[in-house]
């Protein structure tokens, strides 16, 4: 934690560094893979598409870059950006450094939805195309249920809502466990793979599905930055300063849950991004959500694409689940963040 608010120079430096990370991530996403194609040739091909120069890529190489690597990279950017900004927003609105949308039932709801879809298809089928739809529905049902249980009472506090989220998650998880226990070993394996999260099935179609959600929801979250700074003095004081706390909470919890549900339904459960990205950004630029949220969008996007690059290269030709990579990188980073914060406060 910074001892004092950061200087403008420091913030600028961080913005430059994070943007550079994004550029590196985009290049890694397009260039690294079993077929080696150089950055210059990919760049040349990209320029030739807008009428500058001409491409030196074969049609196979072009397909690899633009139909496999590019959509996967773009989906990674979108997922990372959304998960990170949603986590940061949750931490602000609940004033709890460990909050993220998974906490209010998004993860458990999506898990149940996907499991329902997967165990109900015949053994030879892969994950059915309508699994994302059910996962999305499950996530939204779970969050709505949490909101109804925890947010309805007059004296509802952020803690009530989080407890309701824990209860709803437990209910959905047990239903999912029951379903899995009733189904075949093969579908259990498929459910498991889905739960660990992956960008392997990315296509321009899946990008098209999530783009509107990610744009609308992350813009809403970023716009809430100033309001979340006001929230840092607590509900009562924020209201006395003129903030409509109930409407704000409904709006930003709605936006970040919806965006996260859309992402989870396509890429599965990728953990840790929503927790560690905003924390790293906070460590670098201080506690104002006006800075944390937009920078989390950029850094989250870069982070997830870099993790995915690791996921698809370290054990090539097979892939590590992306959720495993984010956890392996995320857990130690989180420990470091905690100890830095402790040093900052002592």
């Amino acid at each position: 934690m910074l001892a004092s608010p950061p200087s403008a120079r420091r913030v600028l430096l961080v913005v430059v560094a994070i943007t550079a990370a994004l550029v590196v991530a985009v290049i890694c996403g397009l260039v690294i893979g079993p077929t080696s194609i150089s950055t210059q040739r990919i760049l040349g091909d990209a320029l030739s598409r807008v009428g500058i120069g001409h491409s030196t890529l074969t049609s196979t190489q072009s397909t690899i870059v633009w139909q496999y690597r590019a959509p996967r990279m773009v989906l990674g950017l979108l997922a990372g950006a959304m998960l990170a900004v949603a986590g940061g927003t949750y931490q602000g609105i609940f004033r709890n450094p460990l909050a993220d949308p998974y906490l209010l039932g998004v993860a458990a709801g999506a898990g149940l939805g996907a499991t329902l879809a997967i165990v109900n298809v015949s053994n030879n089928a892969a994950v059915p195309t309508w699994a994302p739809l059910l996962a999305f529905a499950g996530a939204m049902v779970a969050v709505t249920l949490t909101w109804i249980i925890g947010g309805r009472s007059m004296k509802s506090t952020p803690a009530t809502l989080i407890l309701a989220g824990v209860a709803v998650s437990a209910l959905f998880t047990s239903a999912q466990t029951f379903l899995q226990q009733q189904s075949s070993t093969q579908s259990i394996a498929r459910v498991y793979i889905w739960l660990l999260g992956s960008l392997a099935s990315a296509s321009w179609h899946s990008v098209d599905i999530v783009v509107p959600y990610v744009i609308v929801c992350s813009v809403l979250c970023v716009l809430a930055g100033r309001a979340l700074d006001v929230m840092s003095v607590g509900d009562d004081e924020a209201r006395s300063l003129g903030l409509s706390v109930r409407s704000l909470r409904l709006l930003v919890v709605g936006a970040s849950s919806l965006g996260t549900a859309a992402i989870v339904s396509v890429v599965g459960l990728i953990g840790f991004v929503g927790i560690i990205v905003p924390h790293i950004v906070r460590l670098l630029v201080g506690t104002s959500y006006r800075r944390i949220l937009p920078l989390s969008v950029i850094f989250g996007a870069a982070f997830l694409v870099l993790c995915d690059t690791v996921a698809r290269t370290v054990m090539a030709p097979s892939e590590l689940p992306l959720g495993v990579v984010t956890a392996v990188i995320g857990a130690p980073v989180f420990v470091v963040i905690l100890s830095v914060r402790r040093m900052g406060t002592s």
């Binding site: 934690m1 001892a3 608010p5 209201r239 406060t345």
Partner: protein, 261 residues
């Protein structure tokens, strides 16, 4: 002219009545202090005056406007609130913290205007916080911190400020400093102050009017001189009190009962 009108207000938590049928009219540009033993309902009452509690019965209006009819933003333009234990967010500078008082003017989607920044600078100057403005708000001492919270309330530029135990945790000198600052705002800017105070001597020293609250109801209401000397005061606190006048100042002294002599 009546600035704050508390009309037959009752507040409940579940089935427990915290404040019952309180009516008070507070004149503009005056200072009214609510005193009473712990659990008398002082905190609940002032939070209600700030529009932060749902009334069970009755109404509160400020400057002729019913609080229940207003949204948070319009309420924030009428009344500012300083809680007993304000939350001080780490990592926010003193200037940023005080500028929170201007949110109801520029809104949460816009940056503070030039006017907002001028007001903040003026308040920082008036409360001698200018030198601290870049410091982390969480790094201030108790006295500086309380001045900063008061600065945020004054930055709201409201006609009424409600304070819950503004001297909590401060040493004698800093208690006097805060109360003197408020007294100046009342005298020079026509601010209306409604505050709760534990220290009866200070309450009598700074305030025009004392309202004695006990078990949620008004027991006595009048000039400080009368309330401090009333038999109801000691009765409400359940102890023996004596008023001694030193250099023209009424000092309220607790007296040990016979059993302790």
């Amino acid at each position: 002219m009546t600035m704050v009108q508390i009309d037959h207000v009752s507040l409940r938590a579940g089935s427990t009545t915290l404040v019952s049928d309180v009516s008070l009219d507070v004149t503009g540009g005056s200072w009214c202090t609510i005193i009473g033993p712990n659990g008398a309902g002082k905190t609940t009452l002032v939070a209600a005056v700030a529009g932060l509690r749902t009334l069970y019965r009755g109404s509160v209006s400020i400057d002729g406007e019913l609080l229940a009819d207003l949204n948070e933003r319009r309420r924030a333009r009428l009344v500012a609130y300083v809680p007993q234990h304000p939350e001080i967010p780490a990592g926010m500078s003193v200037e940023e913290y005080v500028a929170l008082g201007r949110v109801s003017f520029h809104g949460v989607l816009h940056a503070p205007s030039l006017r907002d920044r001028e007001v903040v600078a003026g308040v920082l100057e008036r409360l001698e916080l200018t030198d601290f403005r870049r410091r982390d708000s969480a790094s201030l001492s108790g006295g500086e911190r309380q001045r900063m919270v008061l600065a945020r309330a004054l930055a709201q530029a409201t006609k009424v400020v409600v304070l819950d135990e503004p001297t909590t945790g401060l040493d004698v000198r800093h208690q006097m400093d805060i109360l003197e600052l408020l007294k100046t705002e009342v005298a020079e800017c026509g601010l209306t102050v409604i505050a709760t105070l534990h220290d009866l001597t200070l309450a009598g020293l700074f305030t025009d009017r004392l309202v004695l609250l006990s078990r949620g109801a008004v027991v006595m209401d009048g000039p400080a001189y009368d309330v401090i000397r009333s038999t109801q005061l000691a009765e409400s606190y359940g102890t023996t009190l004596r008023v001694v006048t030193v250099d023209g100042i009424d000092v309220v002294v607790p007296v040990r009962g016979d059993a302790h002599r």
